[in-house]
Amino acid sequence: MARAAVLGRLSWLVADVVDIRDETATARTLVLKVAGWPGHLAGQHVDVRLTAPDGYVAERSYSIASAPDGELVELTVQFVSDGEVSSYLIGEARVGDQIELRGPIGGWFVWRPAQAEPVLMLAGGSGLVPLMSMIRSRTSGGSRAPFRLIYSAREPADALYTSELSGLAADAAAGVDVSWVWTRRAAGRPGGSTATCSSTRAGRRSSIRPRISADRPASWNSQRNC
């Protein structure tokens, strides 16, 4: 919209894909360099727009995974069956490609390093992505706010950022407590437990939603809801 652009509203930017990392068999992280990126807050997202040669346009929202870092923005994309944008970003996008995005978007679900209160985070699957931006912002911002993350995935192979989170969890001085919950089987990782009921996957529309709470982390029991 030309008029919106004149008024300085949210406009589409061109992002260069500068690196790609596999996270799991079905998720990968695209590192984008966005000329003119104004910076973001942990928890914000971007809209990605793909345009086909015939003019067909597809647009999706993706959470930002990285802490603010100049013009670099990282998106972790989970493959969604029949997902026309995720299948391109997972299967087709290469380093050197350009994609269109706009953002940062959303001021509701954000965390700033100046927030000192304890944070309890619950995430399932790729719902971890915006929370990972907060965890990384906590580190890069020098925050000492106590963080506790309860992360649920089907099984260890589906879990995102495992080595990074394991490193934080193993470092008592880091102040980040991480618990993994597997919904299909228990395996491998110390600290992981298998959910004893399906309350987190009760139906088609009850997807696991990320939450932030200022509750006291030590009083929370990951099995209580089962």
Partner: protein, 114 residues
Amino acid sequence: MTDQSIPEPVTDAAGIGPDLWSDGNALGGPLAEVFAVDLTMANGQCAGCGRVGPLAQVRVFGGSHGLVARCPTCDAVLLRFVRSPGRCWLTVTGLRYLEVPGQSGSDIPPSSLG
């Protein structure tokens, strides 16, 4: 119901479709095409059940062609956003009001609306 019958949960970061919804944060970009403030932080009242809450917490269905936002409590349609060539249509009859934070109350630094 076996685990296999349940599709992979969709987060606010993923694509959305007829059986799957995203949260109201997905309205942020499309509404920013029209409005200069971040309406996902605005509190709205559902005309159906009277629930009051931020647009960020509603449920959003649809795709690139258009979005339908529904009340998370009563499922009533709150808002429709439809694109057509050269214009967009915004229907907000399901909202009794929107309480929009002013510049001083906005959580977004002006620089991020670049």
